[in-house]
Symmetry: D2
């Protein structure tokens, strides 16, 4: 029998045939399976005004930055790093990005920043401080890790279990909750991109706190997150078989996003706010929902709260983009929004795609 | 207790707060739950050159057309129909489209085509023929149903169980497998958009058949599809609880895509080809994989097949876009690709988004 | 070509071949697809002491009762009703039950109760009252609907939108939260099986309220449920494509389980308790998690609460079975537990299976 | 504020509260979250006739053996090993087994076999040979790995990349496809439990081959499997985010189950059979479907095939249990079926549970 098998492997919305002809020759010369990659239009990459480096491109937030930049009119990627996958193309790490005509990934230590104007730093917590400290001073940086989110470095040490290694940079870092701190982001060199949970909590609560519409006590946050927020690291707890058909509460009372949320709310209140925060892991890829329970201040009605939120976000001419998501808004999307602001572009540039459904 | 509850409902990649203040007032005046919709940038809709009508906008293929057109530089929607949801906005039928500033949906019989240049017809099989027959003759039409896909109207009657009601239109209709029939599509008025399974099968097989590289017998297609292809109709078989954690074979030997596939392959072979086709339903939303088993012609090697496919699709300067998917390529995406061709635009206009992952 | 195709369709943990030979002959006499059902051991059904009728066997709770009884040593099914699927076997409605040697389903009006000692009533809310009223008086009944859960029939009218049609039966009905009302269940003729959400909330809170360990105000319940609780009705909102990859809050402030929960907690407190209850629908089949936020009474510690719960459930010699689930404990499982109690059998009879994982 | 939070974590069908009081005290003495484990009936474990050791109890097949034995009337577990989780209880590795009153897991090297009559060996391929070689000779063994499945040890070396380390044991090993080799299994000391794919393929094909009803050429197997078959090892490819919403073909032309299938079919045919085998990974936990394409022998009809399969499995008085699944039949279930046969018990003892749905 001399047969051939074709297959088209489908990733979410796309479909690629893979070349399997080499393997097929090893075993049985007369039979073959053939997976052929389709020709797909190379995304046009004319020279862009801002040359971007993505540190940690082989993780989920890194790959999401690459995806978002594919259609950005001003930002073009010139450098990608990935220590464990150095030498590989982004398409080999993420088949859905196989059509992108981009340089191969290199290890951070081999990275050449001479062609880079701005950096998205998508590296793990803890190691990020020293890497950012060593970057050329002229670079604009949006850091997606938690390393520069807590203004108080002793709080960092308490929650992350190690002394902060770049306290001077911490003083310089701006917390990048774009809608609330747009002016500070505009002139920042280093932006600490907020966590996904803190984003989903601060956006509705900060305006209400500032307007004294809610009590500062008894704030209860019951948050539900998809799995992509856990990243691409191979952990037993994040296997398909462990996650599907279940709900998991985790980090009870000790989730590291608690101090970040309390920092933001306390600043808005001008007094110390503590919260009750319970995160849950859901069997879905993306997305996050925070259900928030608050007590209204005396005399305040639901309509007052509604009105305040309406004017806080609709009233502002520049605060148009409000999609909240643990990748698009919570991490990569907000990171891009921040760099847009830092570089003087409209903040929703490259972010106007509609969500997929179903 | 005077409490308020905030929630943000997340649809796939986006997140919206909903106004629940009205309900909350009904029951307990002092407590309220508040879901507030975020302000999101209205997609800019300058006047576009081509005015589009979407018939059947409340189904999955219709809504996908709306999503794809949101960023199309030349096509702008001026009419949407949905008989059961007439009078509603697209955002009420599909929350992920809530940001689109579009006219409310109307019933087909109330549709005014005076502001329409071209139509995507996303209606069910069977009823489509008479609706298209009644449309103004000047309209360009891409029909996503199966009603004009089979050239032989007696074959239509056999497989769809009713006589064809627009045999003259059938003669005019062009089968819209863009890569293979681009020239015919270019000058067509009515394009029958291919089915998702037939697309995934004909694209790899037709070039191999034309080049006499494979035998015309014993072609076996084992296809796996996501659930969105079944549409948004409320059927017990498509409930979450019925689909998840299972695989279903369906339409064994009698799937209606069989004559469509055999029509295309036979035309390429210049002789009658019959296939063995087994579709399976998978617990996933989108995507499709067809694993195809063929016998190679004598003396032909895997490398010959590979080479042929490579030149068939990479060699052609205009056949760049090749994502195959049961919504993006199989239905709505290919429909848009076809209308681009019919209107003289680059065929991948508005189709350059990368797939989401994860 | 004279080929045959075999397939084995897998439902959750089992796998069946189906006979497709009849269809295959229609079209192409020389080719065939064959799905052959395996021979599976018929579950042995010796004559059991208690003859069971299942009203509404074609829904999820009904089928779960059938599954649980398959290995029950004392209960044997002699009657099953299903109005829309009257005349069909349970295996045609639920392939995973195909091995059960049971009578075909009949419509309720044709049901013969002469061979029935006890009934599980798995019918929709609203219609159940009249059907139960018409049953022979000698039958023991566990009603899985909400029709007899609210002691106050004016509350029933408020929340269910119709006057109660069997107020006398309501007075007789016992609320079947087994662990808390075991003695009442023991002597009951009609048991109102609790809702799934109320079960998950009352079991932990009632002992704490009775022991005055928590404040009666500010009780917040954030509940997450799988989809099976929504039943097998064909609704757009419960399609696979609508549910997967999302979270939905529903019934905000007006979920019908609120009065049921408040009834139970208020009775325990001897004073009116109101709660804040937010249910969410999750992309999973079974299972439920209620995250409950309470204020501790002055001087009470976490350890006090823990100790109380420990003695409340471990201390009781008969309260061993505590699995909580929206089918096994929340509906069908608790219904069986209740009938075990009503008939004088150990309450976990037939309920000792371990959960599947993964 | 002095609040407490209760949560109930739900695993598939069960629900457990967890004690989180210790963590809660670390941070904020006045607030606490409390997860309390319910009291659940300890499964009764009277002394059983056959004392079972489970080697590799912390993996999915090992835990499934534990689950299945929980209700087995004759087999009782006296030893469990797990090198990485030595010293832990089975409940700490698998919360759904928390109610089982079983000895803690030990490392294999510390295992004491003096209280063991039979062993399920659930260890990885490759390391199993030497461990089984070192076991006391009096033990009955069912090996779930691939180490003793291939009779030809040079074929083992070719496909598994290392020389076989127990060639004498290989000669003794019986291939445990129970329905087809029941007599050999009955008297075996060491049974090589078949792979899940080979089971799903050999059961339908072997009787047809033996009866000369199908051609021995052009056998095409398109197999789809759930994820649990990949085991509990932490691999990037098996993360929830990688698996959900996609289909993956893998092991094209080189899957290690190919020689096992060809061995079984060739033996039935008394001549060398080669197959075309394409496995696919599906977004579901359990279950497997193999769609098999064969050519019928001249003059043979679909009805002939159907009849043969019917008599092959229904005709045999002892071949009643036929559920095919990649855990229940494919691995753990078939392993238990085999040990039942080896110990002289009815082969479906402890295997009569019905599948869950939904």
């Amino acid at each position: 029998m001399s047969t051939a098998t074709f297959g088209s492997i489908c990733f979410d919305t796309g479909c690629f045939w893979k070349d399997g002809s080499k393997i097929s020759k090893v075993n049985k010369p007369k039979e073959g399976k053939m997976f052929v990659k389709c020709a797909v239009t190379k995304t046009q990459k004319p020279n862009k005004e801002v040359r971007i480096g993505v540190l940690g491109a082989s993780g989920y937030t890194g790959s999401e930055i690459v995806r978002l930049l594919a259609n950005h009119p001003h930002f073009g990627i010139t450098l990608m790093t990935a220590d464990k996958k150095a030498g590989q193309s982004i398409g080999s790490a993420f088949p859905h990005l196989v059509t992108q005509d981009l340089p191969d990934m290199v290890s951070v230590k081999d990275a050449n920043f001479s062609d880079v104007d701005a950096v998205f730093c998508c590296l793990p917590h803890g190691t990020t401080q020293e890497i950012i400290k060593a970057l050329p001073k002229g670079l604009k940086i949006v850091d997606l890790s938690a390393d520069f989110r807590l203004q108080n470095i002793s709080e960092y040490e308490e929650w992350y279990g190690q002394a902060h290694r770049a306290p001077d940079l911490q003083k310089e870092a701006v917390y990048g909750l774009t809608e609330l701190l747009r002016e500070e982001v505009k002139s920042a060199r280093l932006v600490a991109n907020p966590g996904c949970y803190p984003t989903s909590v601060q956006l509705p609560l900060v305006p209400l706190i500032k307007a004294n519409l809610i009590e500062f006590r008894n704030i209860i946050i019951d948050a539900k997150s998809g799995v992509s927020g856990a990243g691409r690291g191979a952990k037993e707890a994040n296997l398909y078989t462990e996650i599907s058909e279940g709900i998991y509460s985790y980090g009870i009372t000790r989730h590291r996003h608690v101090p970040e949320i309390e920092q933001g709310l306390s600043e808005a209140a001008n007094s110390k706010i503590t919260i009750s925060f319970t995160p849950h892991l859901m069997p879905m890829n993306r997305g996050m929902q925070s259900t928030i329970y608050v007590e209204m201040a005396p005399g305040v009605t639901i309509d007052d709260l509604y009105h305040q939120l309406k004017i806080s976000y609709e009233g502002s001419s520049s605060a148009k983009f409000m999609q909240i998501d643990n990748l698009v808004k919570g991490a990569s999307g907000q990171a891009l929004q921040n760099l847009n602001v830092m570089m003087g572009y409209p903040e929703n540039t490259g972010l106007l795609y509609l969500p997929l459904f179903p």
